[in-house]
Amino acid sequence: MRGTTWKLLGVAVCVAAAGVLIGFYVSALTQENGSPSYSVPVQTSNGHPVVHLTIETVAAVGPKLSPGSPDFVSYLIMEKGQWKRDTVWRVPANATVHVTIYQFDGDSGLRNPYLARPEGIDGNVEMVDGKPLDAIDPADASHTFAVPAYHLIVPLPGVADNAKNQCGYAPCAMSNAHHTITFTFHTGAKGHYRWQCFVPCAAGWLYGFGGPMQTIGYMDGFLNVV
């Protein structure tokens, strides 16, 4: 075999090896970003799928659920009686979703007051500690639960600064100061919909929008509607 042929063969092998390595890298990234989605248990009502999402928001996720970033603000979801830091949720298409959020964090305030109004949920009204609200004071917002593709947004009021027995690290106990927010929305067609918080709630980061707000798995995730 001539020298040129060997060179060409060498280049081809190197290119193929680089391709395989890039493939592994992309695959690993996909796994990391997607993370295993939590399949929310499905019930049926008159043949119609119904799911219950139970979520909490905490000021600091704690070393147990996030050893690398224990100070990150975060959403958590209840899975089989345990609070987990999973933010990719699998729910059925055309289903009714009843959401309960236990909000343990203090307020940060919204940069855009318009987002202080619930939208995209039944009646455009959220229940806060059993009281129906069609808006909250934007300055009192701690977080939002929003699915922009559904034009769904629910502002979550913060725990008062002087509240007693505030939660330090997650998981928080129900005896800690908190608000309970409930609302209902409906999924549509199958798809991959991101959800996020719109409040600049990342303490210590530029405009409050770095750290956990720029990292999947804390203040944002996906609704995988199947």
Partner: protein, 287 residues
């Protein structure tokens, strides 16, 4: 000094080659240019969803049609050279003919390319100044568009666009709906990072910078939907910062505004007075 043996010399053979290339170029251009103008041109993006979008299609068609004869010449030249002047691998390697200055060719080349570039510069400038071509023109636009005018503010934030209608009491919405056959004055700004508002089928693209009022004009035509994207890498969810906007008949637009005003009422008391730019508080947790 005499030429070395076996060196080809320019002569009548070169004239033959030039004539062949010229004829092939004219034929290819005569076929390709109308195809570009009549077939490719109308299919070019962004479509004809607005006066500005249609203008962009026209501009793109003119540019592609203009460049078609130039590309045709290159293609013909390369194909001809590659097929007619292939060296025999077994022949002895010799120098080519000496290259000499030809002032006629040089003058023609400079004149033709100068005219071409000046035409394109003039054409582009005229088209840009005519109506702004759907681009952001900053806070003091040069190319203003007159007509039945509706002002709409586009507010970018991580990671969603919202819209304010100052002529309807500062109403803000999460969806962009525009009336048909209307000149819309878009004021694009941002509350945090740099974004870019891109309404694809309307031919509108304007940067959204915090503390800046970037004005773009669009003249809507008939009812239709259009895609909205952020066109500036703006953070984690930039790729998901998209939506669908709608151009609707005037009566439908009026009804939609009334409906939005009702749902907006609950938060109206918290809204800041309409302004072309905002420096929002709070940043209580920001570093």
């Amino acid at each position: 000094m005499s030429a070395p043996p076996h060196t080809p010399q320019p002569g009548s053979g070169w004239t033959v080659h030039a004539k062949r290339v010229l004829v092939a170029w004219i034929v290819l251009s005569a076929v390709a240019t109308p195809l570009v103008w009549f077939l490719l041109g109308p299919a070019l993006p962004p479509g004809k969803g607005s006066v500005q979008a249609a203008g962009q299609v026209f501009d793109n068609t003119v540019l592609v049609a203009f460049v078609t004869p130039i590309i045709s010449l290159l293609v013909v030249f390369f194909v001809y050279v590659l097929t007619q002047f292939r060296a025999d691998p077994s022949a002895e390697l010799v120098d080519g003919p000496p290259m000499r200055n030809d002032s006629t060719v040089q003058t023609t080349w400079v004149a033709v390319t100068s005219v071409a570039v000046l035409f394109l510069a003039g054409f582009g400038t005229y088209e840009l100044l005519k109506d702004g071509a759907g681009g952001g023109q900053g806070p003091a636009p040069i190319a203003k568009v007159s007509g039945r005018n509706l002002q709409v503010q586009v507010i970018a934030q991580q990671w969603e666009f919202t819209y304010r209608y100052p002529s309807y009491g500062g109403l803000e919405t999460s969806q962009l709906v525009l009336p048909a056959d209307t000149t819309v004055e878009l004021h694009v700004t941002s509350l945090d990072a740099t974004h870019s508002f891109w309404a694809l089928q309307l031919g509108v693209k304007a940067d959204a910078n915090p503390g800046e009022d970037n004005i773009a004009y669009v003249q809507t035509k008939g009812a239709r939907s259009f895609d909205i994207h952020c066109a500036e890498l703006c953070g984690l969810w930039h790729g998901y910062m998209y939506d669908t906007g709608h151009v609707v008949p005037a009566s439908q637009f009026t009804a939609w505004i009334k409906q939005q005003q009702q749902v907006f009422a609950s938060v109206a008391k918290y809204m800041p007075r309409y302004s072309t730019i905002y420096y929002p508080d709070p940043q209580r947790r920001g570093g």
